[in-house]
């Protein structure tokens, strides 16, 4: 079957080639040397490829040459293939097949000869030919001196167009040459492939003068503004063409101003005029450099705070109180969210919880409820809830179950949906078992649990069944489990080649059913077997599932893909998995479209970022080295194996090492102890005499308060770690609020 297919494919490609090469014969004239030379016209350029008559009719070069016929004709350059026949010996006909070359003639004068490998494609052909013809119009230079010579020669006469290309013969080079063909008489073209030359050229000419100007400006603005000399060309920011000064005020959020100021005095006056507003605030914001410890740096707290005014459809969930709690959870199957209204994590999760309620609206028998433990502290304590947020499920006749999954809409929804059935499901007939395994039985649930587990036991295996039931119960809400232990269980065990007791794992996405013998029947072991079975061989890694693979403690082999993974790569890696090459790794792939944060990961690994896809080995658990599969190699088995072998042998260099930094406090705290110390040491010097007359008391009272104020002021100025950063109006407002206390 397979060989037949191969033959068929060859047949197809042959036909395609035929169609493809038909015009070749027509457009690229094939001439004998004599004939060719007779066609040459004075002043006309012509490119000829001399080849042995017995050489193959086709080659890559000829394909490209054929492509180049039309563009070169546009520039009046003819192209021909010259067949060297034995009768007509030409000096252009090489001795050996391999040494055939292309020649460029102008009239019958030879301009250049090209080894065919320099003319590697149509772009290279066009570029090289034009480059040879426009020898004067396009000067090729390699150093600054050449450039200066050209500049000196042309000063006051003509404008220069300077161009840089990475290499001769590439599409950019062709583009430059085509432009030069048209504008070569108007402008002098200068071409270089030297990056260093490019880098120095932009500012080099004016750098000295600019630096002097900047220094002068800096002296005049000393203490008022910092001056920076920016190399325009090194920035990838869009700076308006005409702007020569950029002005940025110290305050946050003030946009950058782009200015055109041709005079130093104009710069100075502009800065000074705009300083005015600033100076008033300067005292306040004097020490505002660096991150402020009063600024929120907890993303959950900050986002919840920013979102505080949005109204959530809270009415979709039932709010419980001390009075209603017991009655509610007894009356119906309920999910209870225990949260604290002041806790950011709770409030962030409450949003997901409400989303679940929105999705389940009117469809679920499960009552979604919530209780604010900031109000009903005792209820929460009685339910053994001491941290927040916690989700518990209360079902009639069962002990409450704490939800242990991700605090997000999807996973909680899955938990609720999967809890519609009991665990494990008791399967009572072979037919039902088959429906269960095929996913028919719980059609609407298998989207939440890609694997269904069926425990097979003979009716007498009491403890094994109990253990399995315990495991099933433990996994309820996370994976569908069922149990079959009828008399005819052997029918199933024979069919799926499983010796009892056994587990059948039905993978619905792949339509596969595996059997796993249950050697040990401890509930914990069964849980472990099932959890392991949920892991895929080459999973798409996501924010949600990384932890399950992370705990395997193996280096991750991640294929970063912009979109779905290429099936060929997947095949290659799965082959390696089967061949046990990847046993010590966790191979996976990451879809940047589903997991955009993957870009952040790539940025941490690569600089600059090579094109995707990228295959990376991350040694997360020991050392943190990151190795990249060479991006110029195809992701095929052989290359991968070779790379892995080199890795193993320590022949590969890591591209980066993940920082092993500990998570330290992001910012310092107020050091109240030192403030207290400073205040007490100041206070100590001014002791109030103990005995005093009645009149003194009042005065002294006053003095004490003044004293207190003085103490308040001085240490704050010196000890203050950071000023209160809220805007000033807040301070003023606060002062006026303060009087309220006297009401």
């Amino acid at each position: 079957m397979f060989s037949g297919f191969d033959v068929f494919r060859v047949g197809i490609s042959f036909v395609i080639m035929c169609i493809f090469y038909m015009p070749t014969v027509n457009s690229l004239p094939e001439l004998s040397p004599q004939k060719y030379f007779s066609t040459l016209q004075p002043g006309k350029a012509s490119l000829a490829y001399f080849c042995q008559a017995d050489s193959p009719r086709t080659s890559v070069f000829l394909e490209e040459l054929n492509e180049a016929v039309r563009p070169l004709q546009d520039y009046g350059i003819s192209v021909a293939k010259v067949n060297c026949v034995k009768e007509e010996i030409s000096r252009y006909c090489g001795k050996e097949k391999d040494l055939m070359k292309a020649y460029l003639f102008k009239g019958n004068i030879l301009l250049r000869e090209f080894p065919t490998d320099t003319l590697f494609d149509v772009n290279a052909i066009v570029a090289h030919v034009l480059f040879a013809l426009l020898f004067n119009e396009v000067k090729y230079i390699t150093n600054l001196e050449d450039l200066q010579n050209i500049e000196n020669a042309l000063k006051g006469k003509a404008n220069i167009i300077f161009s840089y290309v990475r290499a001769i013969g590439i599409p950019e080079h062709r583009a430059v040459m085509e432009a030069a063909f048209v504008y070569g008489t108007t402008y002098q073209f200068v071409l270089t492939t030297e990056i260093a030359l490019l880098e120095s050229i932009g500012q080099q000419a004016t750098y000295e003068a600019d630096r002097r100007t900047a220094e002068w400006v800096a002296w005049r603005l000393l203490g008022k503004a910092g001056v920076l000399l920016l190399l325009r060309d090194s920035l990838e920011v869009n700076i308006p063409q005409d702007a020569n000064v950029v002005f940025k005020r110290a305050e946050k959020g003030v946009p950058v101003e782009f200015l055109v100021l041709h005079d130093v005095d104009l710069i100075i006056s502009h800065v000074e005029n705009n300083m005015h507003i600033e100076e008033i605030q300067e005292d306040e914001d004097n020490d505002m450099e660096g991150p402020d410890i009063d600024v929120q740096d907890d993303e959950v707290a900050e986002t919840v705070f920013r979102d505080r005014k949005r109204k959530l459809p809270l009415e979709l969930t039932v709010e419980l109180t001390e009075e209603t709690f017991n009655a509610t959870v007894m009356a119906s199957d309920s999910i209870v969210l225990f949260y604290a209204g002041w806790q950011a994590v709770s409030m962030a999760f409450l949003q997901s919880y409400i989303d679940v309620a929105v999705k389940l609206k009117g469809t679920s028998a499960m009552l979604l409820t919530r209780i604010n433990c900031a109000d009903w502290s005792d209820v929460c304590t009685k339910q053994n809830v001491t941290e927040f947020p916690i989700v518990k499920m209360y079902k009639k006749g069962e002990n409450p179950v704490s939800y242990a999954g991700m605090l997000g809409t999807e996973d909680l929804l899955k938990f609720i949906q999967l809890n519609r059935i009991s665990y494990p499901v008791n399967i009572t007939s072979i037919q039902e078992a088959e429906e269960y395994l095929s996913g028919e039985l719980y059609k609407d649930l298998i989207s939440y649990s890609s694997v269904s587990v069926l425990g097979l036991f003979s009716p007498t295996m009491k403890t094994a069944k109990e253990d399995f039931s315990e495991a099933g119960n433990y996994l309820k809400g996370y994976v569908i489990t069922g149990i079959y232990s009828e008399e005819d269980v052997l029918l199933l065990s024979t069919k799926y080649v499983a010796s009892l007791p056994a587990l059948l794992l039905a993978r619905h996405t792949e339509g596969k059913i595996e059997s796993v013998p249950l050697a040990s029947t401890h509930a914990q072991d069964i849980v472990q077997i099932i959890t392991d079975a949920l892991l895929e061989m080459f999973p798409e890694i996501t924010v949600e599932n990384l932890p399950s693979y992370f705990r395997l403690q193996k280096p991750l082999l991640i294929l970063f893909s912009d979109g779905s993974v290429n099936p060929q790569y997947k095949k290659a890696i799965l082959t390696l998995v089967k061949q046990k090459y990847l046993d010590s790794f966790t191979p996976c792939w990451l879809n940047l479209k589903n997991t955009p944060v993957g870009r952040g990961i790539l940025r941490a690994y690569f600089d600059p970022l090579p094109p995707l896809p990228l295959l990376v080995l991350v040694n997360l658990h020991s050392g943190g080295q990151v190795f990249a599969f060479p991006s110029d190699q195809a992701i095929i088995e052989e290359n991968l194996v070779l790379w892995l072998k080199k890795l193993e042998a320590g022949l590969e260099n890591h591209i980066t090492i993940l920082p092993a930094q500990e998570w330290k406090p992001p910012l310092p705290a107020y050091d109240f102890l030192s403030m207290i110390d400073a205040a007490t040491s100041q206070h100590g010097t001014r002791k109030v005499p103990k005995c005093m007359k009645e009149t003194d008391v009042q005065e002294n009272d006053k003095e004490q308060h003044e004293d207190r104020l003085a103490v308040r002021k001085e240490p704050i100025e010196t000890l203050r770690i950071k000023h209160w950063n809220r805007s000033n109006w807040f301070k003023e407002a606060e002062k006026s609020f303060r009087h309220d206390k006297e009401l």
């Binding site: 907890d298 920013r306 002041w342 900031a374 970022l609």
Partner: protein, 684 residues
Amino acid sequence: MGLSAAAPLWGPPGLLLAIALHPALSVPPRRDYCVLGAGPAGLQMAYFLQRAGRDYAVFERAPRPGSFFTRYPRHRKLISINKRYTGKANAEFNLRHDWNSLLSHDPRLLFRHYSRAYFPDARDMVRYLGDFADTLGLRVQYNTTIAHVTLDKDRQAWNGHYFILTDQKGQVHQCSVLLVATGLSVPNQVDFPGSEYAEGYESVSVNPEDFIGQNVLILGRGNSAFETAENILGVTNFIHMLSRSRVRLSWATHYVGDLRAINNGLLDTYQLKSLDGLLESDLTDLAILKDSKGKFHVTLKFFLEEASTNQSADSITLPQDDNDNFAMRVPYDRVIRCLGWNFDFSIFNKSLRLNSGNAFGKKYPLIRASYESKGSRGLFILGTASHSVDYRKSAGGFIHGFRYTVRAVHRLLEHRHHSITWPATKLPITQLTSSIVRRVNEASGLYQMFGVLADVILLKENSTAFEYLEEFPIQMLAQLETLTGRKAKHGLFVINMEYGRNFSGPDKDVFFDDRSVGHTEDAWQSNFLHPVIYYYRHLPTEQEVRFRPAHWPLPRPTAIHHIVEDFLTDWTAPIGHILPLRRFLENCLDTDLRSFYAESCFLFALTRQKLPPFCQQGYLRMQGLVSTESLRQHRVESRLLRDYALTGRRLEDSSQQPGDQEPLGSPLVPGPLAQSLDSNKEEL
């Protein structure tokens, strides 16, 4: 039972002997716990003992609980507030403003169900205490007056001795632990010549009719003195109030035992020169003379001593004879003594060594900060009589204070005699900030017993988890390990509530201009009651606790944090309260306690070798916090998250903008920016 089991070992002679001895010895009934007094403190202890299933008995002289309240306060108005509305549902929080209820699991036994009055009637308290004892089925032996308490040394006893209690019928009770909750029941008498002319608060008429047109001198300046004055203020000619020290207003001293505003009508009429007045003098220097008309004159003891014994009262020198503008030169119709109460030491044998002998020791028995007698192990003083621990500081002498100290004593006993460690909640370190925020916002015990009971957080190794202990008597901090059975090897936090150090006092102006502190950086100068968190790297020693700096409730800590006082006592503001607290905790523990969304944890997991605790304890255990779309938007706007959904090209651009901080680069990642408080302290 014990005898019969042991019998075979002893053999027949022993058995005979035992049987013979038994009636002769008349072994008294033995209890593990004996509680003296069925007042609020006694009932409160009975409640905890009952809940714990302990062997206990309460002995009460009267036929019903709370006999003190059947007569006192004389004018029947309790000055402990019965605040029935706070606008909050949190029962624990509401206890902060319910000064009359005892602690129980039964919400029906809250005082607000017994009285609508903000300052309730004492009869309601009697009714309440009766219900409390009955509803909970507390084992109280009424009509049992313990007349004598002594010690019986016994090596087998828990404390090396039994307490032998003898009641009025001669019945003897043997107790392993004695819990004395008899309150202060003896009126304080100051001995000076003529003191016999003074009527006592305990017996003076409460009918204003009896005081019409009289000149009244009241001795004492406490709430009972003012309460008495308040009752007759409108019918007397004037009231003069005499005491040794100046008046102490509870709103200035922040001590509920000082003069409450509800009783201070006399201050008003004094300052407005409406004939009433306050005077200061040491009573022991004075003498009261009764003249022939039955009026009372104030003179100096000195004059009395000078005079010969036979001199008639009328001829004894009065101060106004020399000093004719002497303030108390008018004769008084009545002298009323309102000098407070003392503990009744009379029933306790000397061997118990309850009495200290000094002046203060006349009022209160001598106890430790654990409420255990200094003289005899196993004897604890509960309730009002235990107020020596926090006299003029906190609320330990009042129901709303001692209901918590009683609980603390019970917890100590549970550990000491039943090996039940002090209850604690073990939580992961990610819950540290939240657990503190929760307690400082609702805990009533901390709030009432500020400076006395404090929460203690014991850190586990590597600070990945902690144990939270509530309401430990902080003066016993050094003995925490032996008293609680918990280990404090890896550092601890103490959460205490405090008023500003210089704020309270009888002579302080508590209304001065800048009294309220609003800025987080000034939190240490907060004046009103606010949470203060102490961090110790090691459990302080007894020496350190004893010789702590003056005016400090605790020894000098490694670091200290004040949560800025709050007008609403609501310490949940994200920036004003929680953020500075988190920074403090982070710097003490030298870690990052921020919370992160799963997406951030994912990024960290793949780009760093270490994860912050929140990701380790949540995300990696498959319990990460997934952000909703709306929160995600806020995250991008707040620049705490780079928007990876944008194209890669744009990302590269923005990262190279000069002066533009890379959002992820700075705020989220750990940095060496912060020098932890912990490391700072190494140099001290």
